[in-house]
């Protein structure tokens, strides 16, 4: 098992506003999550390096989404500890943005793309207040960054899957966080959206932000991500894509589903040879 050396630097409370590269944006220690007496995520240890694009891959039911939700306190964990920027999630919520799976919400909801994006600002706006013009403009800027400014007033049901995904990303961008957790942003999107998301991820990285992305397409892992986490209930391997994304590790993650692996294995062999 490959585990990246953890940076146990203690959190400097004064450095909340400026990202400190010494403090890992996400540190997970011995995290175990269970549903109905059965563990779904088992004993995870991981420390994410700052300013990288990190993918979580693994077969269906490997606990990828659950791991993400457990980090965000959306599902209770049985044991273990999760720290964001060296602090509990409650204390640094504003620095973390979460993009749930697109299919987790009902897109018939009577709101526009701009309304959904503005939801990323609700925390800033605060209780009881209505969304004022400066906030609407901020939301519009976020939509513009994902190339959706022209669709701001469109009811979300009328958007295509890729466009809906971009609206979700815009909502996270509006939060202006330092760490982005994205659950399957590439699932069921068209080629143009995929390009837009990749471009956005690269922009985030150049701005020194970190993104952790649940990913399903093994073909593109090497191309898009710096780091990879191979997950199948337990953490099979984690670390830089170059050293960790090997045929052997994939086999240990995905088990006997060889037809899929041969293809990717051939690519890996072709690239290293």
């Amino acid at each position: 098992m490959i585990i990246v050396a953890m940076s146990h630097a203690t959190a400097d409370v004064t450095s909340v506003s400026s990202p400190d590269p010494a403090v890992s944006p996400l540190t997970i220690r011995d995290l175990t999550v269970a549903y109905h007496r059965r563990p779904v995520v088992w004993d995870i240890d991981y420390s994410a390096p700052a300013g990288k694009l990190i993918s979580i891959i693994g077969p269906n039911g490997a606990g990828k989404s659950t791991l993400m939700k457990a980090c965000l306190d959306l599902v209770p964990h049985v044991s273990g500890q999760v720290q964001f920027f060296g602090m509990a999630y409650r204390q640094v919520r504003d620095r973390v943005a979460y993009v749930p799976q697109r299919t987790s919400v009902d897109w018939n909801f009577p709101v526009s793309a701009l309304d959904v994006t503005a939801m990323g600002l609700y925390r800033k706006i605060g209780w009881f207040r209505w969304i004022t013009k400066p906030y609407r403009e901020q939301a519009l800027q976020a939509l513009d960054r994902v190339g959706m400014a022209d669709f701001a007033g469109r009811q979300i049901r009328q958007l295509s899957g890729g466009q809906q995904q971009r609206v979700f990303l815009a909502r996270a961008l509006a939060q202006e966080a330092d760490l982005y957790l994205m659950d399957e942003p590439f699932a069921g999107v068209d080629a143009a959206t995929e390009r837009a998301i990749v471009k956005l991820l690269q922009e985030l990285r150049s701005a020194g932000k970190t993104a952790i992305v649940v990913h399903h397409d093994l073909q593109t892992v090497q191309q898009y991500f710096d780091e990879v986490l191979l997950l199948n209930l337990r953490l099979v391997a984690s670390g830089p894509t170059k050293t960790v994304f090997t045929a052997e590790n994939l086999k240990r993650t995905y088990g006997g589903k060889l037809s899929l692996l041969d293809q990717v294995g051939a690519r890996i062999a072709g690239q290293s040879g």
Partner: protein
């Protein structure tokens, strides 16, 4: 501004109305915007004074003046006309009180109902209503034990109803969260359990010798006609508080209903908001129970919200329309039941709401049935004419052995029905129908000896139809996994949907694949290359 002052001096009530408009403004709902989705502006002459829309002032004036002005009419006669007049102008104090109470209830039911519906808990109102029954019974028994004969203590009964109703709602939520049962099963379970318990307690009550349980049945069926001023005060305060809460919390509640996980991850107290929403539903139910009865109370919450969905896709408008529909249904129902003395108001209110629902279902501007049918017909016509034009184009294309067919070439060709018949799998009557439709929209014209010829407009449309069709076909094959979400075959310009770069790519591919050409786009496009994106 002098007009405003003039109105204020001469009509004391206008001051109230103007202040209300001003309040509307303060809520961030500028009258100009509000008027766009309320038909008021079209009903009353609109004029703008300062930032106050006079249309609104007049509307509220009318609302306030009708009851007060009508008192002056006085003299009653037994004829139907005067009976109608008596009710419509709210001449009796009792009718006025009942009208006001039910209208307020309608408004707050409409507002709270929107979020209940969006939270996908439409039936929780029903559960809550039924779960109130044992509370009423228990409160009655306790009061009866403490003070024999004094069982019908309204605050105690309402309190008891509130407690068990809340218990019912919490029960549903707990079952949903901690058991594998689905929510419909959880609701059915809770509803029957609580109602059964309540019904059993009622049989006990009937055996208590000192108790007069007669009035209790009014909670089952409502007792609108006998509402007294004190009741309406409670109604009014509760309804106003609930409406204000919904308006103040719409942002938080909509986030809860749309994306609970995201709300929770950004730090909103999701469980508290959820409990608050349930509490509001319980409150509306308890208040509404006295009007329409606990069995029909779910209608007050659901019907306006469901009807409003046919008119708009915007949450803010949805709330306003739902409140208006709720008010109209409740107020109208009260009026009608006052006209016919033996008609209980509760069911009439529900029927009124239902007729508003049917109207919305049919002619609602956003999702009304009639518009769907009309759209469907339009689409059929379009497809039929596209079929004809494509058949024409393909026939000419095969004669020219492939290659792009220009518009002059298309216009110059004359075809007969027997030329076109084998081009598609259509029967002769179908083809003739398509031709006559094409002629009426001036796409084709007949020439001598039964020949057909495309008009210049028809030729241009034929090229466009063929182009769109071929590109869509290729797109669906190439991007089979993501295509259906995008497909809009009816769109005039495929570029609008897929973007110029993708269309360019498709054109290249189509050319390479089977050397079939696509008619060039009839629109001037900036030459887009894939690297543009």
């Amino acid at each position: 501004m002098s007009t405003v002052r003039h109105i204020q001096e001469h009509f004391p009530l206008a001051r109230v109305a103007i202040r209300r408009c001003w309040l509307l403004d303060r809520f961030g709902l500028s009258c100009g915007r509000a008027a766009r989705f309320l038909p008021i502006k079209t009903l009353v002459p609109a004029c703008q004074i300062g930032h106050i829309n006079c249309g609104y002032v007049l509307f509220f004036l009318a609302l306030l003046l009708i009851p007060s002005g009508s008192i002056a009419y006085g003299a009653e006669s037994p004829s139907t006309a005067s009976n109608l007049q008596r009710v419509l102008f709210l001449q009796e104090a009792q009718t006025r009180i009942v009208f006001l109470g039910t209208t307020l209830l309608g408004i707050c039911g409409g507002l709270v109902g929107v979020f209940m519906l969006l939270r996908k808990r439409a039936l929780i109102g029903d559960v809550v209503g039924h779960a109130a029954l044992p509370g009423i019974a228990i409160a009655f028994i306790i009061c009866e034990v403490l003070h024999p004969g004094g069982g019908k203590n309204l605050p105690a009964l309402v309190g008891g109803a509130f407690l068990t109703a809340l218990a019912g709602a919490v029960c549903v939520m707990l079952i949903e969260r901690y058991s594998p049962l689905r929510s419909d099963a959880a609701m059915a379970m809770t509803l029957s359990l609580f109602y059964g318990f309540g019904a059993a307690l009622f049989t006990v009550i009937q055996r208590i010798p000192t108790a007069s349980a007669a009035g209790l049945s009014s909670y089952l069926n409502g007792k609108t006609a006998t509402l007294v001023t004190a009741d309406v005060w409670i109604f009014g305060i509760a309804a106003t508080v609930l409406s204000l809460m919904t308006l103040l919390l719409w942002k938080e509640l909509s986030l809860l209903c749309f994306d609970e996980d995201f709300a929770s991850s950004t730090g909103w107290p999701v469980r508290f908001l959820d409990a608050l929403l349930i509490g509001m539903v319980v409150a509306v139910t308890i208040v509404g129970m006295q009007t329409v009865g606990l069995i029909l109370v779910v209608a007050i919450l659901i019907i306006p919200a469901v009807s409003a969905q046919f008119w708009t896709d915007d949450l803010r408008r949805l709330m306003i329309i739902s409140a208006v529909l709720g008010a109209v249904a409740a107020g109208g129902g009260t009026m009608i039941s006052a006209l016919a003395p033996r008609l209980a108001a509760g069911p009439v209110i529900v029927l009124c709401g239902s007729s508003l629902f049917i109207v919305s279902l049919l002619i609602g501007t956003q999702h009304g049935f009639i518009w769907k049918v009309i759209d469907q017909k339009k689409l059929q016509r379009r497809i039929r004419s596209h079929d004809l034009l494509r058949a024409f184009y393909e026939r000419v294309e095969s004669a020219h052995s492939g290659g792009d067919v220009s518009e002059p070439q298309l216009i110059d060709t004359r075809l007969t029905t027997s030329d076109l018949l084998p081009m598609r799998s259509w029967s002769l009557p179908e083809l003739k129908r398509a031709i006559s439709q094409g002629m009426s929209s001036k796409l084709v014209e007949t020439v001598a000896e039964g020949g057909l010829q495309l008009t210049p407009e028809g030729a241009a449309q034929a090229r466009r139809a063929v182009r769109n069709h071929r590109l869509w076909e290729l797109y669906l094959i190439t991007y089979a996994d993501t295509a259906p979400a995008h497909a809009d075959y009816d769109a005039d310009r495929i570029e609008h949907i897929l973007g110029p770069d993708l269309v360019h790519e498709l054109e290249q591919r189509l050319f390479q694949a089977d050397e079939q050409s696509v008619p060039a786009s009839p629109h001037a496009l900036n030459p887009a290359s894939p690297s543009d994106t």
